[in-house]
């Protein structure tokens, strides 16, 4: 019982198990190992974004540009491939572009000290606008040439995106839990002033997590292009809100100082289970019902998290007495 309020991932674990059990009972064909894996795979790029966002939200920041940066990298990747660049060159270019966007965000947040939401709101608009510009007038998608078939086979045809998301998640977890940078991030998130006084380079800490997140958005852009076999200018549209939702459902606190990569990944899993269950139910307007459920789940899980924290406080007080 105590685990329920001492483990910060407990609400999202309850949510995942609850969704799984409900759908398994009521939705025929829901329990199908490969089917579930296929559906979770569709969310690989969300998971990659969610890892970066976990670090940023843990530092009490926010990045709403990740979806647009993903789109920008996808389009750049597609353009490069279409103009005859090799797979490796195009991939490096996309990763570089994502990292540059991250560095721009990081520069304005860490060095100029603007509010993260203002900075990333404008890079959200700018990255999407420039994606349209480089794609060209009236072009909404750039089909990948045959030279990209290696990537398409890997992302579309195999479970490599899941593996990649897993690697990124483990990397994020190691970074957050086992490295000095991870501790700095949480220290900055819980009290920036105190972090500065204890000798942490706050600017460098913030700068590096925005760069990391930009890099991950670039990576997710390549995965998205491969899985769709085409570079769409609207790729990643709205991903930022869904990825942020997954992070918050997972138990990372929006006010910073508390972050869990495991929770964020479980949050993405919960969203994908929801998607699969609703899809198999065969209801019309799937997208809308999914959004509706997502909104309710977000609100309920944050309210539950507050109850959990209160219970933990009361229990700690009881132990102290």
């Amino acid at each position: 019982m105590r685990l329920l309020y001492t483990v910060k991932e407990s609400p999202v674990i309850v949510l995942c198990v609850g969704l799984f059990v409900c759908f398994a009972l009521w939705v025929p064909n829901f329990v199908d190992g490969f089917g579930i894996l296929d559906d979770v795979k569709q969310y690989a790029s969300y998971a990659i974004l969610a890892v970066g966002l976990t670090l940023i939200i843990g530092s009490a920041g926010i990045d709403i540009s990740v979806g647009s940066v993903l789109g920008f990298s996808t389009v750049l990747f597609g353009c490069a491939m279409a103009r005859g660049a090799g797979l490796l060159q195009a991939s490096l270019l996309a990763l570089f572009a994502g990292t540059v966007w991250g560095a721009i965000n990081g520069f304005f947040v860490a060095k100029i000290k603007l509010q993260p939401i203002v900075v990333t709101l404008s890079s959200m608009a700018a990255a999407r606008g420039l994606a349209y510009v480089i794609a060209g007038q009236g072009i909404s998608s750039i089909p990948l040439p045959a030279s990209a078939s290696g990537l398409v086979n890997m992302t579309y045809g195999s479970y490599a995106p899941l593996l990649l998301a897993l690697i990124v998640a483990v990397g994020g977890w190691l970074l957050l839990a086992k490295t000095p940078l991870g501790r700095y991030i949480l220290a900055v998130g819980s009290n920036e002033e105190a972090a500065r006084f204890s000798g942490i380079d706050v600017a460098a800490t913030k700068y590096s997590i925005y760069v990391i997140t930009g890099f991950l958005a670039g990576l997710a852009g390549i995965v998205t292009a491969g899985m769709m076999n085409t570079a769409i200018t609207d790729a990643g549209l709205g991903y930022e809100f869904e990825a942020i939702t997954a992070v918050l459902i997972g138990g990372t606190s929006i006010s910073g100082g508390e972050a869990t990569v495991l929770g964020s990944i479980l949050g993405v899993v919960a969203v994908s289970l929801l998607n699969r269950g609703l899809g198999l139910l065969g209801i019309n307007d799937l997208e809308l019902w999914r959004m509706l459920c997502l909104g309710v789940i977000l609100i309920v899980s944050v309210l539950l998290d507050q109850l959990r924290k209160r219970a933990a406080r009361i229990s700690a007080r009881a132990q102290a007495a």
């Binding site: 000290k113 404008s122 609100i299 309210l303």
Partner: protein, 304 residues
């Protein structure tokens, strides 16, 4: 010199000069800029986002944010628009405004009673309200048969928007409610200790934002004569961008409705100017993104 030093520069002055400069350049290079057709088009373009931005200004001054404004607009338009297209114009207008207020109360309730951070509460509300709106309408277009043409023709949208700005300015600057909004945005704890109830003020502000979303819905329906759930999907970012360009601090406690009016003016003239000079429409988003950052940097420099 002493006189000049005593004079405190209004915070809105730099962006006002920027707006005037932009208009001056456009007016001298493009003769069509000041034509009544173009002015009417700009007024119509600014109306929906402008009305939303007034509510957003108050919300951001409390230190909050409302991501659900465009969704509230959509839901109230579809609920009221259904009645209006059925011939019950007055009831429909009432329902539009009431739906907006109800959505605002939902946000306010989550934030005050549920003690949720505004960004999360309104993100959840965005999902719930937006999907409810589309499900309610079945994705159909609502035709209102010119029953709101009174609100949408000529310079009426612009006049309504300006009236909302004036009313918003009066409330924020000259009433107790307005002063309390600044107080809880500046320091909620000390405002509470001074006897202000932050919960009641926030509830009022979010409900006010909902009411204005309802009004924006009426004006938008009047202009377009039709409404569809995803017509206004870019209004939320447009409204936040206008508030931020207008110099309101995202941290709360600082900012003004006239600043937001100038912010709406700048983004409207940018969009319009891009079309007039034949700049590819795809660039405008990038330009508005840059304008937000420049405004934020200018605000930081001014404070130093």
């Amino acid at each position: 010199m002493e006189v000049i030093r005593k004079y405190k520069m209004p915070r809105e002055l730099p962006i006002l000069l920027f707006l005037i400069a932009m208009c001056a350049v456009l007016a001298t290079t493009k003769s069509t800029f000041l034509s009544s057709d173009n002015l009417r088009a700009m007024g119509t373009d600014a109306a929906g986002i402008g009305i939303l931005a007034v509510g957003m200004t108050a919300v951001i001054i409390t230190g909050g944010i409302d991501l659900s404004v465009a969704a509230m607009l959509a839901l109230s338009a579809l609920v009221g628009g259904g009645l209006i297209s059925g011939g019950q114009t007055a009831a429909g207008c009432g329902a539009t405004l009431a739906t907006g207020v109800a959505c605002g109360a939902f946000n306010g309730g989550l934030i005050t009673l549920g003690r949720m951070p505004p960004i999360i509460a309104t993100l959840g509300a965005l999902y719930i309200i937006q999907s409810t709106a589309t499900l309610y309408s079945g994705g159909q277009v609502v035709y209102i048969d010119n029953r709101l043409s009174l609100l949408g023709g000529g310079f009426v949208p612009l006049v309504v928007t300006l009236m909302v700005f004036v009313a918003g300015h009066v409330v924020m600057r000259f009433t107790r409610l307005g002063r309390h909004v600044y107080a809880i945005g500046g320091n909620e704890e000390s405002a509470r200790l001074a006897g202000i109830s932050p919960a009641r003020i926030k509830m009022a502000v979010y409900m006010g934002a909902g009411l204005l979303a309802g009004l924006a819905a009426l004006v938008t329906m009047g202009i377009n004569n039709t409404f569809q759930a995803n017509d206004v999907s870019d209004y939320m970012l447009g409204a936040i961008a206008a508030v931020v360009i207008g110099g309101t601090s995202i941290m709360g406690g600082e900012g003004s409705v006239p600043g937001t009016m100038i912010g709406v003016g700048i983004s409207t003239v940018l969009r319009n100017g891009a079309i007039l000079v034949g700049l590819d429409a795809r660039w405008t988003q990038a330009v508005i993104g840059a304008a937000i950052v420049i405004a934020a940097i200018a605000d930081r420099l001014r404070r130093r």
